[in-house]
């Protein structure tokens, strides 16, 4: 690299580095600082010590939000690790028209969460498609309150997240399937293994690492859920605010005269620890699995 002036690399790196420092690193530090203040959305704020964290302990809405997050994660994990893999296997073979199907399956990912949540709101309406069909078939006698019952609303949002995530994880699996040796499949086929056994004994072990990565991604995004619950509950967080997520609470405290950026920052710190835990656990599982 003789022809380099010493500052050339820095000229190239500085814009990205500036963004990193100003919009990632400084906000991380500032979140901690803010959490000890009572800063308002309009500005100002004074040091209040641990007051925000004391409030956290008695915040009933936060307790519901954390419970919702755990339910969200536990339900999403199995569905979103398994179905997208099956989809990836389905679209892997290059049949005529397969590009169309791949693109179509990816469409819910490309659409905004707001758009798809509004679509689901209409489908799950008291007089919407699902209730209409179920009543017609005689499965139910009256409409199910998908959008006004605490648990049904949570379940609706979870199904929406699963539906929207299928294509996303399918693509990641698809990239991983390309690395599973075709020879292994052929060898297994020669040995008389059918498609089902090949799936369990060749495909699944082949994408094991990806599966762990995907389960980390699923857990973290389940804990960060916002738009789906926000839109489906009409921005109100369900009956009595019991269908809030942690991010919804952060958003609520970020605005208006009632807003409190200090408390919102304390909630952000809770969110940080909540999302880091499953990441560490799964990364650990991965390492142990790799050693075994």
């Amino acid at each position: 690299m003789r022809y380099n002036r010493w500052f050339t690399p820095w000229v190239l790196v500085i814009p990205a580095l500036t963004w990193l420092l100003v919009f990632n690193l400084w906000p991380s530090i500032n979140t901690v600082i803010l959490s000890f203040t009572n800063a308002r959305p309009i500005g100002g704020g004074t040091f209040v010590g641990l007051k925000n964290f004391e409030t956290l302990l008695h915040d009933e809405q936060l307790r519901w939000a954390l419970l919702n997050s755990v339910i969200y994660m536990v339900v999403c994990l199995p569905f979103l690790t398994v179905f997208p893999l099956l989809l990836a296997v389905l679209v892997e073979k290059k049949l005529p028209g397969i590009t169309f199907f791949r693109t179509a399956f990816y469409t819910p990912v490309v659409a905004s969460a707001v758009v798809v949540a509004l679509i689901w709101q209409w489908i799950l309406d008291d007089r919407g498609l699902v209730n209409g069909l179920a009543e017609k078939l005689g499965v139910i006698s009256g409409p199910l309150p998908f959008l006004s019952d605490q648990w049904l609303l949570l379940l609706s949002a979870i199904s929406l997240t699963i539906w929207k995530g299928l294509g996303y994880y399918m693509i990641i699996y698809l990239a991983a399937l390309g690395n599973v040796g075709r020879e292994l499949h052929e060898a297994a086929a020669v040995d008389g293994a059918g498609p089902v056994r090949r799936f369990f004994y060749v495909t699944v072990p082949g994408v094991r690492g990806t599966m762990i990565l995907i389960s980390i991604l699923i857990s973290v995004s389940a804990l960060r859920v916002f738009s789906e619950l926000f839109i489906l509950s009409g921005g109100k967080g369900g009956p009595g605010g019991r269908d809030n997520s942690v991010v919804m609470l952060i958003q609520q405290y970020s605005q208006g005269f009632e807003g409190n950026l200090g408390y919102a920052s304390a909630l952000s710190i809770v969110l940080f620890f909540v999302t880091v835990v499953p990441m560490l656990v799964l990364a650990r599982l991965n390492r142990r699995g790799a050693e075994a």
Partner: protein, 304 residues
């Protein structure tokens, strides 16, 4: 395609891409029996109904005439009295085109910033030797574990201090160079063989020339993935513009749609028309560029 610098065929550094030609030479194994073909297509169509059905239903609702019963027990996909009235009604009641323009402004800023900033940094970090390189790389990696929502409040405080609260530039600014995109570009540049660089140096090419004539042309796949994701991310984002923007006339489409649904919750046809206006552009963008997207996926641009 320039064969030597094809990123799918790394020469020096090890990558996880599949060795070339693995798919060849497996005679007979790739052929699909007619029965399997039928089963596969049936399953594909079934999944298609699940993934695309809701969009079609919304499209159909948006086109159904006001006199038509949209609540009928036997759902009808095809509108009996198709009409574009609701699209006109939506644009008359809320400034949808302004919202769309706002979303576009934000998306263009974010795409431009990311393509430029991430390419430059990715190139320097992977192809140039300099003191502090490892440290900078580590910083980029470290921020990946941090979910964006954790810092969203203090990010808002930063943007407010710049005097950019309630502006579109304030919406675009923090996302204009994403750490993940820098790392994607870093990975893409890293998989080019180092010999090409060495040859170029012998020929007297400086860092800029190597970036423009060797680096960038060989990572077009990853650049398009970065651009597509940046566009979709900016266009679809909801939480951040919801926090930054307070004036209804500055809303982006997603925030505007939420506002629309709050105001017209009793008119599903109108909301359906609004969602379609937000949805159709992004589908067109993706459908046009999906070729590059899936190519980028095969190059290994999407690996978490």
């Amino acid at each position: 395609m320039t064969t030597v610098t094809d990123p799918a065929r790394p020469v020096v550094k090890e990558t996880s891409g599949p060795p070339a030609g693995r798919r060849r030479g497996s005679f007979g194994f790739n052929t699909v029996s007619p029965r399997e073909k039928v089963v596969r297509y049936l399953l594909l169509v079934f999944v298609l109904l699940i993934t695309i059905g809701p969009f079609l239903w919304q499209l159909s609702t948006s086109l159904k005439g006001s006199g038509e019963d949209i609540y009928t027990r036997i759902p009808k996909l095809l509108p009996a009295q198709p009409t574009f009235d609701h699209y006109k009604a939506v644009t008359d009641t809320i400034p949808v085109w302004d919202y769309a323009r706002n979303s576009l402004v934000v998306a263009v800023l974010v795409v431009g910033g990311n393509v430029l900033g991430a390419s430059l940094a990715g190139f320097a970090l992977s192809r140039l030797q300099f003191r502090g390189r490892k440290l900078v790389l580590g910083l980029f990696l470290a921020t990946l574990v941090l979910p964006g929502e954790v810092t969203i409040i203090s990010q808002y405080v930063t943007v407010r201090e710049f005097g950019l609260a309630n502006t579109l530039f304030g919406v675009a600014l923090p996302g204009m160079i994403g750490a993940l995109n820098v790392l994607l570009m870093y990975n893409a540049f890293r998989s080019l063989p180092i010999e090409v660089d060495q040859a170029a140096i012998v020929d007297g090419a400086n860092a800029w020339q190597r970036l423009v004539y060797i680096g960038l042309p060989s990572v077009r796949g990853t650049i398009s993935v970065v651009a597509i994701f940046a566009f979709i991310g900016a266009w679809d984002d909801f939480l951040w513009p919801l926090i930054v923007l307070t004036d209804p006339d500055k809303y982006t489409l997603t925030v505007g749609l939420q506002y629309l649904s709050g105001t017209f919750s009793n008119n599903p046809r109108l909301i359906a028309a609004g969602t379609m206006i937000a949805f159709i552009p992004i589908v067109i963008v993706f459908a046009t560029l999906q070729r590059f997207f899936f190519k980028g996926v095969e190059e290994g641009a999407v690996k978490g």
